[in-house]
Symmetry: C2
Subunit: 349 residues, 2 copies
């Protein structure tokens, strides 16, 4: 997990135990009586990453003030089974989106053949993602309060809208900053926000605190996606651990490119649009592609567009931290929420 190593003592022990519990619930929920299904579910391991979403649920729960009757100045300082179940559900939903993000479009298949996907076919990846989504709702509805399922489904509705909005804007080199933010708010930040809010809801915290937790998670999620998009353009492939320049291949405009387009001189802008159009070509050679990606990265850095995006992310992180400080009592769990926000900015993977 992102920042766990920096925090010693009881809270990191509790969190480690809870995350282990989440992993166990995850595996148990996906268990099938069919071997072929279990073999496929094992593929999902390779998607397991930072466990950001379950950690948001659990740390938010630990940071919540105890419910009104018990004196507001103290934190509940406890996670319940419901928190751990919702943490598992959130991770399962997130994994499903990762599996479905790996579906290839026609152009990619023509270019890459069968090598890119470890799963047998697109169809298997689709069904495996569906299996994850279905089990996420199945697990969620073990909890007696149907509002939890309702809120999770609300978040997944929004995530899907964000993905569809992004697909709709592929190849739209006129994409505005406003629409860019709306896309990432929906596709990434809404689930992060809901993770934090649900933790508060389960802990029976005041609505205002639950709303502040949502806003914290949402801002953190937007910043996370901005940094993700910056890394896709300018990161080090070895450090990030995945192939970069994917957004360029898919003609997805992200914040540094939008800034460059809107602020560079006319000829620079025209050259950049030309580079973007070439990147969208199916038959661009690998060497040419990677040379152009480097050139785009240099241009964005020198023009200050990368800094611009990082500053925007940093502003959101400051706002997120302020929300936490204004609405939650001091505690080591609250400190951890603040550190998690900082870690979103400093990560290079």
């Amino acid at each position: 997990m992102l920042v766990l190593a920096q925090h010693d003592g009881m809270i990191s022990e509790q969190l480690a135990d809870d995350l282990a519990d989440v992993e166990a619930r995850f595996a148990a929920e996906l268990q099938s009586d069919l071997d072929c299904v279990n073999d496929l579910a094992a593929h999902i391991e390779r998607y397991r990453g930072k466990m950001l979403r379950p950690t948001l649920v659990l740390v938010s729960a630990l940071a919540c003030p105890a419910s009104q009757g018990e004196g507001e100045s103290e934190t509940a300082n406890a996670t319940t089974e419901a928190h751990r179940i919702i943490a598992t559900v959130a991770e399962m939903v997130h994994m499903a989106t990762l599996v479905h993000d790996d579906i290839l479009d026609e152009a990619e298949i023509r270019r890459k053949g069968k090598t890119i996907n470890n799963l047998t076919t697109n169809e298997t990846a689709v069904m495996l993602g569906d299996y994850l989504i279905s089990h996420a709702y199945h697990l969620c509805s073990t909890l007696p309060d149907v509002q939890l399922a309702r809120m999770i489904a609300n978040a997944t509705n929004t995530v899907c809208e964000g993905e569809l909005y992004q697909l709709h804007n592929r190849g739209n080199f006129e994409l505005s900053e406003e629409v860019y933010f709306e896309i990432i708010r929906r596709k990434t930040a809404s689930l992060c926000g809901m993770c934090c809010k649900l933790a508060g809801y389960i802990s029976k915290t005041k609505d205002a605190v639950a709303d502040a937790l949502y806003a914290y998670g949402e801002k953190l999620g937007i910043a996370f996606q901005i940094v993700d998009d910056v890394l896709d353009l300018t990161g080090d492939e070895q450090t990030v651990g995945k192939s970069l320049g994917r957004d360029l291949e898919k003609s997805k405009l992200t914040l540094p490119l939008i800034h460059y387009r809107d602020t560079a001189g006319e000829s620079d802008r025209a050259e950049m649009i030309d580079l973007l159009q070439q990147q969208a070509q199916v038959d661009l050679s690998i060497d040419m592609r990677s040379m152009q990606v480097s050139e785009i990265a240099v241009r964005l850095r020198e023009h200050g567009s990368v800094d611009y995006a990082r500053v925007k992310a940093a502003e959101l992180i400051e706002q997120a931290k302020q929300l936490v400080c204004d609405n939650l009592p001091e505690s080591s769990a609250r400190d951890l929420l603040l550190s998690m926000a900082d870690a979103v900015l400093s990560r290079d993977f």
Copy 2:
């Protein structure tokens, strides 16, 4: 709907009203504030078919005996809002599976290019299907009883397992009849069974009646899929209204082929396996493909393998009808359940 036209009077009026309500709820649930999402959702119209699953919910509800306190010999003869919501959820889940069934694998894309799918890309189809699934659970969790969401998710878990089991057995020319039945029980029949059972559950019918309704729906669903598979091999393309021979292209063995393989003489069997292997080739010409499909159909018909499959389906339909007669009081709704079962056999589309 399948057999609505054959039934006059109050019940068909009620059913028509309820199905119109289901369509309205379906459209309302999918409404987004994003135009691009609404435009995509409009594509879903082209998948709307027989409304089998919502009809199963509604007719089962009408055929249920009134709850114990009110005298068992009369039917409840009413659908509630919960029935109409579950009917909508079931149709939404089914639509999602249809959209995801249209995802193309690598081979198909290489052969067919972009023409086959009306949607822009595979990725859009994946996300649109996810949007449907998400909204199905969202709608389901408006109902206060979380058990309904749990049972729907249970059915969708099983549907996904069936799909994965089928994908796993592509190209398996040794597929046993037992595994074939297990695949279609999961991928098709489990949702039909759940539709009927949930109607009983909502109507607070006895467990034994709800279980009988499940068994009715499951058997009807298995028979429905057998007939679907027979039509894919031997139907008339114009009447069925979709391209046939798809299971051959995808190396899916279905009941007539399994029967032929297990009962034909050695040389006939070898020739059939050879034909099946050729059908699986990506680069088979369209003319050759369709000539071979005709030859396979003739062989299956002449050997009695088509009749074998139809008899199996008929046996299941008899069992389904018997369950209804044994467990539900006489009523025009019960008659409709019987007619729906018969219609599964007689359909040629």
